[in-house]
Structures are given as structure tokens and as C-alpha cells.
Symmetry: C2
Subunit: 223 residues, 2 copies
């Protein structure tokens, strides 16, 4: 058990992940630019969690304060915000495990696609913005809609990638504690371009089938 910060944690993806991490027994600190907004989100989350019989501590803080003391810092900002927000947080994030869950999604004529990213993926851009942090990409494909429904077990595999073995192992360990998720290690951080692409594909499938989909990797029964 440890402490997980979720920066940009007042959006639906951040809230959904925070709920799942709290249910897994992790102390959660929701971060936002405004501490009051973070605390309001945390209060809502506590209400939901208590109703589910979970009393793991969840609190709000401004992004900077949320980082301090966290074992893993999740970045759940909208993609468009990272260039503005991360450089100012970089000194406090130095030496930290940064869990990136961001997709550079755009929508072109109703079709979801990825915004071109010079670095190759949101994850690689975040690693470039935070050169002294240990970035791990994961939870790219998990829909906020499903994450917040804590009455239902989460479905699917969480594909993980990263260039720092210890940081990746810590995130894989965290995923293993979230009920019914399985971590699949795809290797180096360059694979984030593929996991981010899966999100766009799943959103297009969702639209077509009026469904909320996720993926499973078949053929790994031995691990």
C-alpha cells in the first residue's frame, strides 16, 4: 500500500482511477490547480467509496502539494495542457514514478484519431518534458465511464510500457492490486504510440456499436 497522487484528478478519468486505486487500498491525493476544486472532487469520491464500504483516505491538494510524499504520481491532464502544466512541476516530479494515462485524441468528422506528436506519443512527450522522472504509460485504454462505475469490476487488460524497469514494476504491481485488471507489459515507452492508438480505435468501435469496449490480450495464459 502506498500513496498515489492524481494530477488533473478532477476530470472523469482521474476520478475513476482514483476510485479504483482507493478500492485497491491505496491512499489517494487528488491534485488540481485549485486545491478547493481538488478537495471537492475528493469529497465526492469519499462519499462513493464509503457507500461501497471503503474508508481508504482520499484528499485533495493543489498539484504541487499532491506530488510530495506520493509513491506514484499519475498525470491525468487533458493532452492539450501538458506543455503548459508539466514544466513547472518538473522539479517536484524529479526522481518520481510518473504514471501517464493521457491520450492525444482528436476527432475529425466524428472519427477519433490521434493528434500528431513529434515525440511519437503523449507518453514520450511527457518523458521529454520530465527528463528526471520515470514515466510509465498505462491505463490508456480504460474508459472513464467504466472506471467510475465502481459497482462493476473493471474489465480488460492494462497494457503498460516504459523505459525504467523499477518504475514499470511498481505500476504493474499497482495494477495487480486493482480488482480484476491484469497488467500486460508491452516493453519500451515507444509502444505508447500503439496503446494510445488503441484508445482511438476503441472509441470508434464504441460509437459504431454503442458500447463501452476494452481490450484483452489473448495467448498469455502462462503468466
Amino acid at each position: 500500500m502506498g500513496r498515489i497522487a492524481i494530477l488533473g484528478g478532477t476530470g472523469p478519468e482521474g476520478i475513476g482511477l482514483g476510485l479504483r486505486f482507493a478500492l485497491a487500498g491505496e491512499e489517494v491525493v487528488v491534485g488540481s490547480r485549485a486545491a478547493e476544486r481538488a478537495e471537492a472532487a475528493a469529497a465526492d469520491m469519499r462519499t462513493k467509496l464509503v457507500a461501497a464500504g471503503c474508508t481508504t483516505p482520499v484528499r485533495g491538494a493543489d498539484n504541487g502539494a499532491a506530488i510530495d510524499g506520493a509513491d506514484i504520481v499519475t498525470v491525468a491532464f487533458p493532452y492539450a495542457g501538458i506543455g503548459d502544466l508539466l514544466p513547472g512541476l518538473a522539479p517536484r516530479l524529479a526522481g518520481k514514478i510518473v504514471l501517464d494515462v493521457i491520450n492525444p485524441l482528436i476527432r475529425v468528422k466524428k472519427v477519433f484519431a490521434l493528434e500528431p506528436v513529434a515525440e511519437g506519443s503523449a507518453a514520450e512527450k511527457i518523458q521529454a518534458l520530465l527528463p528526471d522522472s520515470f514515466v510509465v504509460g498505462a491505463f490508456k485504454n480504460e474508459s472513464a465511464e467504466e472506471l467510475v462505475e465502481i459497482g462493476h469490476p473493471a474489465e480488460g487488460d492494462v497494457v503498460v510500457c516504459g523505459d525504467h524497469a523499477d518504475a514499470k514494476a511498481a505500476v504493474i504491481d499497482l495494477i495487480g492490486r486493482v480488482k480484476s485488471y491484469r497488467a500486460v507489459d508491452a516493453g519500451a515507452l515507444v509502444n505508447a504510440r500503439f496503446t494510445e492508438g488503441i484508445t482511438a480505435m476503441l472509441l470508434n468501435i464504441n460509437r459504431r456499436y454503442k458500447a463501452v469496449t476494452s481490450i484483452r490480450v489473448l495467448g498469455l495464459d502462462d503468466h
Copy 2:
């Protein structure tokens, strides 16, 4: 039941698909630049199929002759070859359903990645090279290794994309006849960049886990 041509059909992916299509009751014509090479591959396939109790006709032909009379023309060339091979075949492929199963894979320091494609994906490049054909991208993620093992049912979902509704429906129908595969319609052909990316990701997962993986889309139980 119809006739499926497989251009570049003497490689492992083409042979594997040909075997599965024949088992599904489709007449298969293996295409190659050299008709004798195509016929030799077809003879090997017939031997395997007969041993499995399947007598669906499988024969070889040069690529051009293989196209004539085919209901669906599969292109299974190596990615590097399409710029040379397809323009010459374009007139014969005009008006045809072209099933593209090609991934623009490269390997950088043991990590599988995608070669940058100006059109966005191999599928879109093929559609650009064959403007009068109806290109459908599918079977991008299915490993040749698994396809050729006809004693084992194929596992996983076949994600399909394309801009021509009738052509896509024909391919989805074909997939539905291949034992144990399920077609998932991801929408427009631009999604091929994501399905091709999944192949690179799965190959990296395969290397890490010493496995042969495929994907399933969860959450579509209703369709």
C-alpha cells in the same frame, strides 16, 4: 461461398490465411509472380487440407491470373513490395474488393515499430495505389504462426476497417465463416494505422512473454 485470391500468397501469412479460407469452404487461388511457385505452395496447402478432411479447391496462378474471377483479392505482399507490385495490377484490380492484411513493420534495436507511411497506414497507401478498388483492412493482427496451425481454432477478434460499406460487409461475412474468428468493425480505413500498430505492440508482447498473442475486444456481447 466464393473465390478468394491471395496475392503474395506463398509467404507464411498468405498460406495461413489461404488454409483458413479453404477450411471455411472458399475456393482459394494462391497468387505469386511465378505461377510454378504459387502452384507448389497450393500443392502443399492441399496436402495439409486433405489431411484435415477438407477438399475445397486450392490452386496456384500468377498474380494477374489469380485476380480474374476472384470475389475478394487478398494482398499479402511484404510491405516493401507494394509500391512496385500494385500499380501494374491496378487495372485488373479495378472494381474488386481488395483485402489488405499488410503491416508496415520495422524493427529498431529488437523493438517492433511501424515504418512511417505518408498516407497514414499500409491500408491507406494501398487504397491510394488502387484508387478504383475497394480496400478493406483486416487480419492485420493475426500471426502467420497461429494461422498455419489449422489443428487449432484461430483465437481472437479480426478488426476490420474500410471506406466502402459493401466491400467491408463482404469481408466481415468472410471472417464470420472462418471458424472461431469474430469480426469487429472499427469504421473507416483511417483506423488501419491503429490496427497496424496493434500488430507491432503484440509482437513486442510476444517477444517479452515468449508467446503468440492476439487481441479480443471486450464489451460487444450484444452484437
